[in-house]
Symmetry: C2
Subunit: 213 residues, 2 copies
Amino acid sequence: MEFILEDISEAEVARRRGVYTPLTDTVRDLVDAVIRTEVSEDALDDARRRIAEVVADLRSKQMDGPYGVRHTRQNTGMAWGNAVIGVRNALAPPLDVVHVDDGVRSDFTLGAAYEGPPGCVHGGVCAMLLDHLLGNAASTEGPCYTGTITIRYLRPTRLGALSARAWVTERTGRKLYAKGTISDAEGVTCEAEGVFIVPRSAVDTPAVRWSQG
Amino acid sequence: MEFILEDISEAEVARRRGVYTPLTDTVRDLVDAVIRTEVSEDALDDARRRIAEVVADLRSKQMDGPYGVRHTRQNTGMAWGNAVIGVRNALAPPLDVVHVDDGVRSDFTLGAAYEGPPGCVHGGVCAMLLDHLLGNAASTEGPCYTGTITIRYLRPTRLGALSARAWVTERTGRKLYAKGTISDAEGVTCEAEGVFIVPRSAVDTPAVRWSQG
């Protein structure tokens, strides 16, 4: 599991983010449109053909395998392929994670593509986002990986505007304990607690800041 | 939370699935290509413009809000917008869930769009898929919702060909207990256990078969 050094300036990171963000946002829009469209089957087939042409053009030059996880010399994280925060990954909402005094928080909106029960966020999506945020809170002092995580669903989470937060509750040796919640306008809908492990090899390794994929 | 009756035959369900599957697969391909492409910034901008045109065409006629959860009179599930199994949802791998003697199982492949740690499946994605599968196993006798779920990560799950299974271990009143695992060629990478609740209103409600979104 190797991390890749991108030897570029912070300004260049920001510039490239500005190039990829509108493209990925448009693909997110496409994902939503394919779920909700009611156009004719001929129009669907035409859309498929045109998308396939774009795919062929993009694939005319591409990296082997996945994007990987990159960071700059200044320890700015570039997890641009990440399933939760990736700026180049249309599956990611994406979460924009803000570091606050006691941990991390993120405000985000989930639409049709995140549905499970009718009109509600898939419980698995809640689990995915909480896993990420608790891991993010736990890794603000250095790299760690998830040991276990428990999600408790209090009530359905409606699709729409949501917020989530996570914070570390305790540190014992190489174990960190973290908690987190997802909330809508009426309060908490689900909560999580997890145990995170600092690998022996990573003790005293400087933290990378993973605010934005 | 209302389920929608689609009053169509099983043959028509299959025919429509055949229309949407190639379109959604092409969008999945696009999601992957946007993560991995190395074409010029001009080419990226051209791709964005062409995708936006397709989106506008698809949105010329569309349903309000999310897809919802539908089923036929024969209780075949049509969760086509579902984040894990949806045939119209490019975020879904999608899982194709097979009902086996002791529960459910699914074989699937996860590529670049599901990455967390370098070359590995995002732990949150594992949690999402296990949440879905355990819920699916628990709901083979009728509707239920997740109370709590715990994921235990044994080792990293490499991107690639994987399989998962889930089964009910116990039923007490309106509570069902389920377990599940994700495995690669070398064995189990993570395991889950969950508690599922049958809503009072749903006792004795016939089960819908959610094999494919």
